[in-house]
Symmetry: C2
Subunit: 150 residues, 2 copies
């Protein structure tokens, strides 16, 4: 296990390697084995209704789950290539202010199984979800399949 990076380090990593995350004003609020929380402000993500653009909602969901899996893999000593294969987003309510996406990753036993599959076959798929909230209200639900490959 490698040490879990600080929130500032994770945020700097995202902003450097995925510059759109900086343009969207994404902040890393939490990032550890129990989950990742990303926060994004309304202003850079606004649409013509003065609510959050669906593309931003979707992108923050995608990134929250990706970040959890990326750093969980790194903590376990893996440097696998990680790509998204498929995702679904349900937009439940207009987002009128800053919002958050929270991905709680996978239970430990399931993650261990994922790592075993990756070790054995050189490839493994993880299905992750994220809940998007605005001032405590659930505003969107994200589900994505990611594939790690050695």
């Amino acid at each position: 296990m490698r040490p879990i990076p600080s929130l500032a380090e994770v945020e700097a990593y995202l902003h450097k390697h995925i510059p759109l995350s900086a343009g969207m004003g994404i902040r890393v609020v939490a990032c550890d084995a129990t989950g990742v929380t990303l926060r994004a402000p309304l202003a850079p993500n606004i649409n013509h209704h003065s609510t959050v653009f669906g593309g931003s909602t979707s992108a923050v969901g995608i990134l929250s789950a990706w970040t959890w899996l990326h750093f969980a893999l790194r903590s376990a000593g893996h440097t696998s290539r990680l790509v998204i294969q498929r995702n679904t987003v349900d937009y439940l309510a207009p987002i009128k202010r800053d919002f958050e996406a929270r991905c709680t990753g996978m239970p430990a036993a399931q993650f261990e199984e994922f790592l075993r599959t990756l070790d054995r076959y050189g490839k493994a798929r993880a299905s992750l979800t994220a809940v998007l909230t605005c001032e405590g209200e659930k505003v969107a639900a994200f589900a994505g399949d990611y594939v790690a490959a050695r």
Copy 2:
């Protein structure tokens, strides 16, 4: 029927009302009753693998279908509020260069039915798809449900 706006007008509309579309460098390549094509460059949408970030792929798909429906409604004299309800994206191949999303909208008869439902019930749902390509290769498939409400 109102006149279809020029590509420059549509692009200016998107960049003004959805500023992230400007940050992503989205250009409007086609916009008429037969479909909308949006193009986006790699650079502002790049990820840590030097391919397009899934959030950008998703956002361009969302925007292509939204743009078609928004301008089709306006051309038909409707100023309905239009929101995305749900979407799915299949990421088929890494996107290594500039890419496009093409939404061909709905067949005329289906769009007429959509307008009749909107007139009668004040609300109607449209299911739209978009195909994302990079140098002619299909790289992602987008499907989204949008709801128009008077």
